[in-house]
């Protein structure tokens, strides 16, 4: 900089202003600023300086280069032409490409990217009114907008998305559109017109009897219409699919599950359209095929062409409070697969018979989560389960708890539900259901946190019970209903607490939180929790059988009843199978560690005890179970060796129990499937154990590994020669 006043013709000095040389001032500031200071100020420290700058954030990084700096600029430069093309063939091609790409964007959004960078990267959607002259594109965009709004609403209400909060960020985006539902009836009319035309074609064509498939599919496979007709067909499928998908969401939103049956019909229609869309893809490619580079499977459109009318950077200031990295929109094929899975998951939800029995519901939710449903599906499930503070919006949680605790039907009206602890218990159950609908990582953390609350509730209830009734033995014949309620609920709370602890531990396997060197302690702790869970479950069932017996007013027990009473209930046997496997795995791991020093990892900074403390901190804090600690773990496993291992085969026990209990679950395909897996694990491990006992210490070339190949949390022991 020189000392002369700069000559800036565009900003002349006026009467009240004058140009002055600021160089000395800047020089003084440079001297005053210390190294690393962004701003020289009392409260602006290094942390503030670091946090103030976010590289690539367009709100503060003005150097970010974009093609267009505003939507208007993009439109002025022809980025989203209306009409799309005067050539009707090109118009159709490009419309289909836009629809395909929007589907891919929608899937990318569902998968965790921001709405602004995905669906609303579509310039046509950002200025929807412009598309009015193009009837189909206009209707399609309006349905997409309405669908996005519906999905955001469901996910926000469910609040199952704490870790996925990019999803609901919509500030600045034009999500609201009056009369979007009117376009639905327009689409409906278009579908009916074309369906009528196609039916007429069908009547005129082959006289062969066609299998019962939707009319559009029939025409597709058996009639050879002109290429122009097939283009319309492809367009139509996209639009009709969008129309039905919107209706799925609308039906599922109806309270107390009233719209579930209608939703299923729309889901079926969506699946049909998706199938047609997939089929039409090959045709589109061959008919309008251009040469493309790279793998067609990676493209976001069926044709392989880049769509017009999209710019992900236009909304960069609205994307998220993080730098807008270039995200990869899902390929069109993957997008369709995503929606097929989503629709399948929604269908499972819609088919659920709203069972008032909590235990069945818990099993259903756990089973549902095995296929790893995405956020949208899980949010829908959560909203179905918990509405207006009631189960399915219809059953108060106290009634649900009394039913689950095997109390008589009339108990649900008892005044005890106003008790503070009972109210809190209802909240805990409600929260449990919500937690079970979140993703596995979040779920595990919440389970861990809430264990303490379940323990506290138990203690509070027990205290209240003692205050009311003093020390009463559990086998008392007192008919006092209040005492009975307390007893049953206490038992039920304990059982549920151990169930949550069990879920906490096994989710660790799914999330890959345990290294093999930690498996021994994990299986040992799992064994301890399962033992308690089985005990409480058995007690609970015994008490409920007692109630049933009294209800039946049987004067004399028949031999059959006595036999049934002394038999271990199948649910408990199932848990005993788990217990045997956990014990077997603990012992085999301990023996391997003690004999040949594998699966231990002494680090330079800490010991196994610190790892134990960290993994089980939340369980220990809640005393679940009591009297379980690192010293007791060491005591149980220190003396394990190959010779003690050879003396008892827990895996054989597990195999036997699994076989025995199968017949009790003949109507439960999920449990049968799991029993088969447990049998496989038990069988493999039994063989492996025998091998290790015979050869383990002698053969250094034997390599043992633990793989979750047959069961999600019980490892299979694999023995190989290296």
């Amino acid at each position: 900089m020189d000392g002369h006043s700069p000559k800036l013709a565009s900003i002349p000095a006026s009467d009240s202003t004058v140009w002055a040389d600021a160089s000395p001032l800047l020089q003084a500031a440079c001297t005053g600023l210390r190294d690393g200071e962004l701003i020289h100020g009392d409260n602006f420290n290094l942390f503030a300086a670091m946090s103030a700058l976010e590289i690539m954030d367009p709100k503060m990084d003005s150097g970010i280069v974009c093609t267009y700096y505003s939507i208007d600029e993009a439109i002025e430069n022809g980025a989203a032409p209306i009409p799309i093309s005067l050539d009707s063939t090109i118009d159709v091609q490009r419309t289909i490409d836009i629809m395909d790409h929007l589907l891919a964007c929608e899937a990318a959004w569902h998968k965790g990217h921001s709405l602004a960078q995905t669906v609303f990267s579509c310039i046509y959607l950002l200025r929807l009114d412009r598309t009015a002259p193009h009837a189909l594109l206009h209707s399609y965009c309006r349905v997409i907008r309405a669908t996005c709004k519906a999905v955001v609403s469901v996910v926000s209400d469910a609040r199952a998305h704490e870790e996925e909060d990019l999803f609901t960020m919509t500030y600045g985006l034009p999500l609201n559109g009056d009369g979007d539902d009117k376009c639905l009836s327009m689409l409906n009319a278009v579908e009916e017109t074309i369906s009528r035309q196609l039916r007429a074609c069908k009547a005129a064509s082959s006289k062969r009897r066609l299998p019962e498939v939707p009319i559009l599919m029939q025409i597709w496979s058996h009639y050879s219409p002109t290429p122009i007709w097939k283009k319309d067909f492809a367009k139509l499928c996209c639009a009709v699919y969008a129309f039905h998908f919107f209706h799925v969401l609308a039906c599922m939103k109806r309270p107390q599950g009233r719209g579930l049956e209608s939703a299923r019909k729309h889901i079926a229609s969506c699946m049909t359209e998706l199938e047609s869309i997939l089929k039409s893809a090959d045709f589109i490619r061959s008919c309008f095929g251009e040469s493309y580079e790279g793998d067609i499977d990676d493209k976001t459109t069926a044709s392989g062409r880049e769509p017009i009318g999209f710019d992900a950077m236009l909304n960069s200031r609205l994307s998220a409070p993080t730098p807008p990295r270039a995200i990869k929109i899902l390929s069109w094929k993957k997008a369709v697969q995503y929606f097929v899975k989503l629709l399948h998951d929604l269908d499972v939800i819609c088919s659920y018979p709203l069972d008032p029995h909590l235990e069945s519901l818990l099993r259903f939710v756990v089973q549902f989560q095995i296929s790893q449903p995405d956020l949208v599906a899980r949010s829908h499930l959560q909203l179905l389960l918990v509405q207006d503070g009631k189960l399915y919006g219809r059953d108060p949680f106290f009634a649900v708890i009394t039913k689950a605790a095997a109390l008589p039907e009339a108990t649900k009206n008892h005044d005890i539900q106003k008790n503070e602890s009972i109210l809190q218990l209802g909240m805990l159950v409600m929260n449990l259901l919500k937690i079970l609908c979140t993703n596995a990582a979040w779920q595990r953390r919440k389970h861990g946190k809430f264990l303490q609350d379940w323990r506290v509730i138990y203690v509070q209830l027990e205290l209240a019970f003692r205050n009311e009734f003093g020390e009463v033995s559990s086998s008392s014949n007192d008919e006092n209903i209040c005492m009975k309620i307390f007893q049953h609920i206490l038992l039920w709370v304990e059982e549920k607490t151990y169930w949550i602890a069990f879920r906490f531990l096994i989710l660790g396997f799914e999330l890959e939180l345990y290294s093999t060197s930690e498996y021994c302690m994990v299986y040992w702790y799992l064994y301890a929790v399962l033992t308690k869970l089985a005990e409480k479950t058995h007690l609970k069932i015994a008490v409920s059988y007692d109630i049933a017996k009294r209800k039946g007013k049987k004067k004399k027990d028949s031999p059959k009843d006595l036999a049934r009473e002394s038999r271990i209930p199948p649910a408990v046997l199932f848990l005993q199978c788990y217990i045997c496997l956990a014990e077997g795995l603990t012992m085999i791991l301990a023996a391997l560690r003690n004999e040949i020093s594998v699966f231990q990892s002494p680090g330079p900074f800490n010991t196994e005890q610190e790892k134990f403390v960290q993994h089980f901190e939340l369980l220990q804090r809640a005393c679940i179970p009591d009297h379980v600690s690192y010293p007791s773990y060491k005591e149980s496993t220190t003396h394990a060796c190959f010779s003690t291992l050879a003396m008892y085969n827990y895996f054989k026990d597990a195999q036997r129990i699994a076989k025995e209990v199968k017949s009790s679950f003949s109507n439960d395909p999920d449990r049968l499937a799991e029993l088969r897996k447990l049998e496989q694990v038990a069988e493999h491990n039994s063989v492996a154990q025998n091998l290790i006992c015979r050869l383990g210490a002698l053969d250094p070339s034997l390599k043992v590994s633990f793989e979750l190949s047959h069961h999600p949390f019980f490892a299979t022991v694999v023995v190989k020669r290296s």
Partner: protein, 177 residues
């Protein structure tokens, strides 16, 4: 970070010199390494924040005068725990697989331990097998899984190392519960 390099550098492990952050002259070396190898773009103020406030926790590895690796950390109070945090760890590709990263991290952790930290933590991508193995060997456990932690949709593990309690605390265990 522990991926097999295409071109390995030839060196003896004893030739690697490890130094603690010594001043402004080290800053551009650290910045260049991290900018080159890691995907996160940091401003110079981010680097200054770490090395100015906790110079004793950052280390550089040199081979024949060339900076080949660095670790940048901090420590502080976090929810009633005095905790160390490993912010950046880089070793350039030709020098990987030879224990340099392990040595850098070990020095930093030792310093944290001596400074009274109760635990050390960091995040790592679930797909970063090298980092997970490195930290696993040092005694870290995978405490949590963070869903879609990184913007590319990849999950992260929160890794934590708990130091054993210092001897004098064991005298009165009942007071701690």
């Amino acid at each position: 970070m522990e991926a097999m390099p295409e071109e390995k550098a030839e060196f003896e492990e004893a030739e690697i010199k490890y130094v603690s952050y010594g001043g402004e002259h080290h800053l551009p070396l650290i910045m260049n390494l991290v900018d080159q190898e890691l995907s996160e773009p940091y401003s110079i103020f981010t680097y200054r924040y770490f090395v100015y406030l906790w110079p004793q926790l950052s280390f550089l590895a040199f081979h024949k005068g060339k900076c080949v690796g660095t670790v940048v950390c901090k420590m502080g109070e976090h929810r009633n725990t005095f905790r160390g945090y490993i912010a950046m760890l880089v070793v350039i590709k030709p020098y990987r697989g030879r224990g340099i990263a392990t040595e850098l991290v070990t020095r930093s952790i030792r310093m944290m331990m001596e400074s009274g930290c109760e635990e050390v933590t960091l995040e790592a991508e679930v797909t970063n097998k090298g980092a997970l193995a490195l930290y696993g060997r040092l005694g870290f456990i995978r405490a949590k899984r963070l869903f879609h932690y990184y913007l590319n949709g990849v999950d992260a593990f929160r890794l934590k190392l708990l130091f054993p309690p210092p001897p004098r605390q064991e005298l009165s265990p009942s007071l701690d519960t």
